[in-house]
C-alpha cells in the first residue's frame, strides 16, 4: 500500500555553502541524505536526529518541521492524524522510543527549594566539607553495642549489605541489545570513575564488563536473559525488574533486527528472533512469590548484595512498595511515567502510569507511616533532567535518583525517538557495527563523568544554600520544598506547603 504520510521534516541544503563532501550522506543512517551530483534529501526519511547538521563542516544543512503538512486543527493535531494514517496503512501497534513527550505537567518545575538567610547561615560549599555520599541498602531498626573483653565497644547489630555511592545519581537500566556494547562500556567506565552504578537492564552482561563488577547492578527480568550464577555474582547489587515507567504492565520485544551473533550469545536466543520479555515474571503472581525470588537471589549471592525491586509508578504504587519491602527487598526502585524506553507501544507510553514526583511522595510517606522506611532504600527514576530535579527528589524522600535519558543525551542522543528501528545514527540504540563504532566509549565515559561532576557541584551549591552539609540532611526534608501553581490536593499528596507559607 502506498504511504500517504507527508514528510515530518524538511531538510534544507544551502547549495552555496555545500562543498559536496558527502559527509552528510555517509552519516545519515535513515536513508534521507542521497547524492545525485549534489546532495538531495529524501525528506520523508528524515527523523531529525541531527547527525548531518552536526557533522556538516559548512553548516549548510537546516532541518525544519514540515509546517503545513496537516492543515491546522487544535483537536485533530498532526500527530493524531499521522498515527491514524500509519495504522490505516499497516494495521499494527504504533511503536515508539524514548520517554513520554506529551505536555503533561512537570511537577519538578512546580516545586521550589528553600535557602538560608540571616538566622541559619548558609555554607560555602567550595571551601567547606560537603557530603554527597549515600549508602543504599537495608538499615537496621536500631544499633546495639557491647563491651568486648578488652573493654572496647563493639557493634553487635549485624549490618545488611550496603552499596556506597559517591553521588546519589545512578545510570538507568538500559539493556545490551537496546543499546550498543560501547554504550555499556562507557556507562561502566563512568560509573567506576564517579563512584556510582550502571545497570545492565535485562539483556545480560558482556564479559568485557566483568572488571567493573563493583559498579554494576545486574537485572533479573521476566525474560531471564543472560541470568546465571556468575552474572548475579558479578555485581554490586541485583535488581528484579517488575516494571518500567515507559511501559507499565507490559512485556517487551527486542526486535529481531537487533539480535545479531553477540546479542544471541548473551541472551541465549536464536539470531534474528525477537527477544520476548513476558509481561509478568511467571514465577511471581503474588507478593509471596516475589519474596521467593528475592530470597532465591539472596541464596545465590550468599546474602552479600542488596536486592532491589523495580516497579513502574502506577496508581497503587504505595501499597505495592510496602509489599515489596515486606517481601524482603533492600531497595525499591520506582520508575515514573516519563521514563525512557528502547521500544514501547505508544499508547502505553503516553497514557499509562503516574508522575514520579507523586509516586515517590506516596511511597516515602507510606513506608514512614508503616514504620518500615529504614528497611529499604528508595531509588527514584523516570524524568530526572537536572541536579535541581535530583535535589527535589531527595527532599521528597528518595535515597538516590536515576538518569537514563539524561545520560544518553550527554553522549549524543538527540531524542529522535527511533531507538526501536536499530538505525541510531549516534551509535547508541543500535547493534550495526558501522554505527556502533561511531560512539567512542572513552570519550563518552568522560562526558558522562563530566555530567555527574557538574551535577555534584550544583547539588553541593544547593545544600550550601540550604545551610546543610550533607545530602543525608536533605533526605525526606519536605519542609525545604514549596509548591507553586499547584492545587491543594496535589500539595497534600506531595506533602509540601505552597510557596509564600513560612514555617
Amino acid at each position: 500500500m502506498m504511504s500517504e504520510l507527508p514528510p515530518e521534516f524538511i531538510v534544507k541544503i544551502d547549495y552555496d555553502r555545500c562543498r559536496r563532501c558527502k559527509r552528510c550522506v555517509m552519516n545519515c543512517s535513515f536513508g534521507c541524505m542521497q547524492f545525485k551530483d549534489r546532495v538531495v534529501p529524501e525528506h520523508k526519511n528524515c527523523v531529525a536526529c541531527h547527525r548531518c547538521t552536526t557533522f556538516c563542516p559548512e553548516s549548510a544543512i537546516t532541518i525544519t518541521s514540515n509546517e503545513l503538512a496537516y492543515k491546522e486543527n487544535a483537536n485533530w493535531m498532526p500527530e493524531i492524524r499521522k498515527n491514524i494514517l500509519k495504522q490505516a496503512q499497516t494495521g499494527g501497534i504504533l511503536l515508539t522510543g524514548m520517554g513520554n513527550p506529551k505536555p503533561y505537567q512537570i511537577l519538578w518545575d512546580h516545586m521550589l527549594i528553600d535557602a538560608c538567610q540571616v538566622t541559619n547561615p548558609s555554607i560555602d560549599p567550595l571551601r567547606e566539607p560537603m557530603e554527597l555520599r549515600t549508602f543504599i541498602g537495608r538499615k537496621p531498626d536500631r544499633l546495639e553495642f557491647a563491651h568486648n573483653k578488652d573493654g572496647e565497644i563493639d557493634l553487635v547489630t549485624e549490618l545488611q549489605p550496603q552499596v556506597k555511592l559517591d553521588v546519589p545519581i545512578l545510570f538507568g537500566a538500559m539493556s545490551y541489545g537496546a543499546v550498543s556494547l560501547n554504550v555499556h562500556r562507557a556507562l561502566a567506565m563512568a560509573a567506576n570513575r564517579s563512584g556510582t552504578l550502571m545497570n545492565t537492564g535485562e539483556g545480560g552482561l558482556h564479559k568485557d564488563l566483568y572488571p567493573y563488577a563493583g559498579n554494576i547492578i545486574v537485572q533479573v527480568a521476566s525474560g531471564r536473559f543472560g541470568v546465571h550464577s556468575e552474572y548475579l555474582n558479578t555485581s554490586a547489587m541485583v535488581e528484579i525488574k517488575i516494571g518500567q515507567g515507559a511501559k507499565p504492565g507490559i512485556g517487551g520485544h527486542l526486535p529481531g533486527e537487533k539480535v545479531g551473533e553477540d546479542i544471541s550469545k548473551t541472551r541465549m536466543i536464536p539470531v534474528g528472533t525477537d527477544a520476548i520479555s513476558p509481561a509478568p515474571h511467571h514465577d511471581i503472581y503474588s507478593i509471596e512469590d516475589l519474596s521467593q525470588l528475592i530470597f532465591a537471589i539472596k541464596e545465590a549471592v550468599d546474602y552479600t548484595k542488596p536486592v532491589s525491586v523495580k516497579i513502574s509508578a502506577v496508581h497503587n504504587v504505595a501499597a505495592i512498595a510496602s509489599g515489596i519491602v515486606r517481601a524482603g527487598a533492600d531497595v525499591v526502585t520506582i520508575d515514573g511515567f516519563k521514563g525512557g524506553t528502547g521500544a514501547s507501544p505508544m499508547v502505553i507510553r503516553d497514557n499509562v502510569g503516574i508522575p514520579i514526583e507523586l509516586a515517590l511522595a506516596a511511597v516515602d510517606q507510606r513506608l514512614r507511616d508503616e514504620g518500615i522506611r529504614n528497611n529499604a532504600s528508595i531509588i527514584c527514576a523516570g524524568g530526572i533532567r537536572s541536579s535541581g530535579d535530583v535535589a527535589k527528589a531527595i527532599a521528597l524522600g528518595a535515597d538516590a535518583t536515576v538518569i537514563g535519558t539524561a545520560a544518553l543525551v550527554a553522549i549524543g542522543c538527540r531524542i529522535c525517538q527511533k531507538c526501536y528501528t536499530g538505525n541510531c545514527a549516534w551509535g547508541i540504540a543500535t547493534q550495526k557495527p558501522e554505527l556502533t563504532r561511531r560512539l567512542d566509549p572513552q570519550v563518552s565515559a568522560q562526558r558522562l563523568s563530566n555530567l555527574l561532576t557538574a551535577w555534584s557541584l550544583e547539588l553541593k551549591e544547593i545544600l550550601g544554600s540550604l545551610g546543610v552539609n550533607s545530602i543525608e540532611s536533605l533526605r525526606g526534608s519536605r519542609e525545604r520544598l514549596r509548591g507553586i501553581d499547584l492545587d491543594e490536593q496535589t500539595l497534600k499528596l506531595l506533602g509540601i506547603k505552597p510557596a509564600g507559607v513560612g514555617q
Binding site: 550464577s229 541465549m268 528472533t273 513476558p278 511467571h282 541464596e299
Partner: protein, 246 residues
Amino acid sequence: MVMEIDCKGMYYKKLNKMIRDAIDKNETEFILHNINGQRYIGNGINEKIKITINGVPGNDLAMFMNGPSLIVNANGQDGLANTMNAGEIIVYGSAGDVLGYGMRGGKLLIRDNVGYRTGIHMKEYKKQVPVIIAGGVAGDFCGEYMAGGVLVLLGLDKDEDTPIAGDYLGTGMHGGVIYIRGEVEEHTLGKEVSVLELNDKDIKLLKKHLGEYCKHFGLDLEEVMSKPFIKLLPVSSRPYGNLYAY
C-alpha cells in the same frame, strides 16, 4: 565421603548454608533425609556435586544451578530448574508448575506428570541445549515463549481421555522443539506452532535422551519408542514481526 544431613525441622537457610560450607571443604556428595518443603536446594551451586533428596523439596529447587546432579526420591514442587544453567535433576514422582523457567542448560527428568507452564521461555545457544522430559502429562501453556531447548512429553500410563498436554501448547514459541508421544488436538495448540513428523535426526536425538531417561526409571526404550511421536516447531522465528507500525 558422603555427607548425610537430617533435615527434619531445619530452615532452608541453615540447610543451604551447610551445603555451601561443606562444598567449600571439598565435599562432593550429600544425602538429605526428612526433607519437607525446604526451598532453594542446589540454588546457584557451580560445583559438580551430587545431592540425593529424600522427601519433597520446596519451590525453586536448583534455581540458577550450574553443575550438580540432584535426585529427588519424591514429588517436586513449583519452579524446579528455574533459570538453571547446567546439571541434572531426576524426579521419581510428579512436579508442579513453571518447571524450567528460562532454563539455559542441563536436564530435568520427571517420571510422572508436570503442571502448568512447563519449559516456559527455555533458551539455547549452540551446543548448550536444555532438556526437559516428563513421563506423564502436562498442564496448560506448556512450552510457552520457548526460545530454545528440547521438551518431551511421553504420556505413559495415562487414561485414554486425558490429553497429554493442556491448552495453549507452545504459545509464543519461537525456538526449540517439543516432542510428544501420541497426538494433540489442533485446538489445544498455540497459534505460533505447527505439527510435523519426525525425521531421522529427531529419532536419533530422542533415542539418545530417552535411552538415558529409561535407564533412570527402569523403562524399556523400545516400548517407549514403539508409539509414534509428533514434533512441534515454531511457525516463525519472529511471531510478532508484523505486529507493529514502525
